[in-house]
Symmetry: C2
Subunit: 479 residues, 2 copies
């Protein structure tokens, strides 16, 4: 392999002035990608150390390491501790392998072009994931687990994690969780899939859901054979009483802590109505407790599960409060559903035992509470800054749903169609959630935007708001 490192004029090879938008590290990554694809950086060639390239290009070292990291994760580069970062991809058939190599990654439309500003609604703050603390928890788990816990995870989940999680949920969410009735999954979708299969096996054929609501939970329910029946949503949460018109429905999935789109809390009388309904029809309320950890202005209402553990199945995960890579979700069900949701282990994957034990340690050590406290402060400050900036820049717009969660809703000035804003966003380097995709049967409010801030870097907030405001103003100007 030729080491081309010293002979290249990197600032010539990598053209960062290209018209492609996006932060510098993404432009650098793209410039390297182009050079690799075009054969100017052949397979095996070494890239300069990050500090050297940073100096050559007049950028921060972070920019370079971030770009290298991205390309390593895509398979374009390889990096080994103690040796140079090298090109690991070739546009030519690789004769050593006898197969033609094409782009190493499956195309992922969400990443092309990369958005400069992430206003999407379902992302936590990946920058703030406590990497070191999590690795430390993995280390403790690996060093203290008896060797037979390194095998397949126990059916239902590691008893220790279930005990610790039950305590945590009882303490923070007002639940009454019996660890025996908790099943650990890889996330909330897997949990919903297992629960939906159990419902189907028990004779259920229809599941009522909030509309708009959470397609991430609709998919596994549909895959299990359940027909989804939409319930309308207003400022008091899901209109529970609409169930009275569906005598054939005995299961409903709701998000009482924070309605996914408008951020509403389910009103106490509707909670009571739902529980009474579930008792009357011998039914089940599936409670999606998806981002209740983030309540800013008052404590979150306790979970419905705590009011009636015999009628509520609680679904949750660590994907929002930590990251999906923790890979742990759960379902806590009334006893009669336990056998059903554990019936098909080959369909519903369990989180790796090591991750489960690490999470138990992370909770027990207090690291999770500290992370939540810090996250809540960070998100509250970010929300306050976002609300203030939007109120200043778009005084005609109305802001709602900001009391909890990781997004707010923005009712645009009259005459600005949200759909046009959403459609134009990618070209402006903005990622926005399309409420239309969260609607099952109803029509989205034509003037309403969802503005997520979970994965919006604080340093980008001013620029992000400016870009969004420009986008909205263009929407006003057009006919």
């Amino acid at each position: 392999m030729a080491d081309t490192q010293t002979n290249l004029a990197w600032e010539t090879l990598l053209d960062l002035s290209a018209s492609r938008p996006g932060p510098l590290h993404q432009r650098l990554a793209e410039a390297i990608r182009v050079a690799v694809r075009g054969g100017r950086l052949p397979l095996g060639s070494a890239l300069p150390p990050s500090r050297v390239l940073a100096t050559d290009l007049g950028v921060s070292r972070w920019t370079v390491t971030e770009a290298y990291g991205q390309l390593i994760s895509e398979g374009f580069l390889t990096g080994k501790t103690g040796s140079a970062t090298r090109v690991s991809w070739s546009p030519e058939p690789d004769e050593r392998r006898g197969v033609v190599r094409s782009h190493p990654g499956h195309p992922d439309p969400r990443r092309h072009p990369p958005a400069r500003y992430d206003f999407s609604q379902c992302t936590p703050d990946y920058r703030a994931f406590p990497r070191r603390k999590w690795v430390e928890a993995i280390r403790v788990a690996a060093e203290t687990a008896p060797f037979d816990r390194l095998g397949y995870a126990q059916p239902g989940g590691e008893p220790r994690l279930r005990t610790v999680l039950a305590d945590h949920l009882d303490r923070r969410r007002g639940t009454r969780v019996d660890p025996e009735l908790m099943t650990v999954f890889t996330g909330a979708k897997q949990a919903m899939g297992a629960l939906a299969r159990a419902l189907y096996a028990d004779g259920h054929r229809r599941l009522a859901v909030e509309d708009p609501g959470s397609p991430g939970l609709w998919e596994p329910a549909r895959a299990a054979g359940l027909e989804l029946v939409p319930l309308p949503v207003d400022e008091h949460g899901v209109v529970a009483e609409a169930l009275a018109g569906h005598p054939d429905i005995r299961a409903v999935c709701v998000g009482p802590a924070h309605q996914l789109v408008n951020g509403a809390e389910l009103a106490p009388e509707r909670r009571a109505w739902l529980l009474e309904w579930a008792s009357r029809v011998d039914g089940l309320v599936v409670e999606d407790d998806y981002d209740s950890e983030f309540c800013y202005d008052r404590p979150a209402l306790p979970a419905m599960q705590g009011t009636d553990p015999r009628r509520v199945a609680l679904i949750g995960s660590m994907s929002r409060a930590l990251t999906p890579t923790v890979n742990v979700g759960w379902a806590v069900v009334p006893r009669r559903w336990l056998a059903g949701i554990q019936a098909e282990p080959w369909l519903a994957a369990t989180a790796p035992a090591l991750n489960q034990l690490a999470l138990a340690h992370f909770l027990e050590s207090g690291a999770y509470d500290r992370h939540l406290r810090t996250s809540r402060q960070r998100f509250r400050a970010r929300r306050d800054a976002l609300v203030a900036a939007l109120a200043r820049e778009l005084p005609q717009a109305r802001i709602g749903g900001q009391r909890a969660g990781l997004h707010l809703v923005l009712d645009l000035p009259p005459g600005v169609p949200a759909a046009r804003i959403v459609a134009a966003a990618p070209a402006h380097g903005i990622e926005l959630c399309d409420i239309d995709q969260l609607c099952l049967a109803g029509e989205p409010d034509p003037g309403r935007l969802m503005v997520g801030y979970g994965n919006l870097a604080d340093g980008q907030l001013a620029g992000a708001v400016a870009a969004l405001v420009e986008l909205v103003r263009e929407g006003v100007d057009e006919p």
Copy 2:
């Protein structure tokens, strides 16, 4: 919480002389369990430091830490760094919680009573899992991953892992893997499930399988709606030509490197026949490459996938060569099947991105090759010792299938029924695989035992063989 530590006579409280069999650390764990269940160690009481208890009881410190670790993982105890190990379970209703706590773990019949000697066939050597190296790989992955890789794993798997794994398989298994055609799962079962659903969606209704074979792959295939059709097995592997009698079958699942029960390699002419058949009927050969890394006396035959990547779908995982807690498996499919196996992501969980990136690093750094080399040496030595001991103690028995894998087959002396041995094993503290459970339609050879040694501690080998021999001799003596 009362700290009862200094006032207890531990050697009185914990009766290790009980009649229950098993290694000392399991007896200690059980003694503590009994004391907790009986209320003699109330909720919150502190246990002595492991070194102190070891001295009190006259056992090794390892015995105590192992017992504590087991009970922590079961939820009976909690251990925090820097403070005492405490009882975290109570037989009484816990008034702070408002619910009655029962046994914290789901009952797992495989663990009661714990087997002294593990001759089961599907377990790797958990003791030898390179915990530190794996944690180091996780650490490197966590520190070098761009923050957006900490979210949901990419559909199909991390490109970097796919590239690295493809190289690894090509090098060690003679495959020709295009990383684009690889999909990462949490294990081989999940991969089989996705592939079976793709087959079903394509109109397949029957899948031919080896009999005896691998129920772990049968379950997901059945769950996908496929009917399993048994093919007989002989000393040259699966009798492939039997497919000629099934004109309606166009898919078959085989383990050519090492037949699960008798350890046979699939004969070259049968490999050729299968590939020709697959071409002729426009069919698919699913290659279960489950323990091909462990070949002792000659190199493993290359995977069939390398001969015809257009007709073979390769399924594999790290569960055998590392442990299931690594949580990574894969399927490499002909291009036409790719969309099919990635169609239902909410059914087939993907391994966490961090685990995938850690595994990529583990492979790239050479740690995996080193682990395999050490493992192969260890397993070969263990196999040699086991074969020698069995040949010496049971000269009338015939040993086979020992050239590869983590088990051998033992044809018992005439007149000793294997079923009786298997049935009596648990009472002797021995875990044995019941071949009957690996049979789909055929009857197991009545005189054949499977003897796994993957998870048999080397220090226990003499005792394990003695116990097995005693069991077999009792089988001879009885009418």
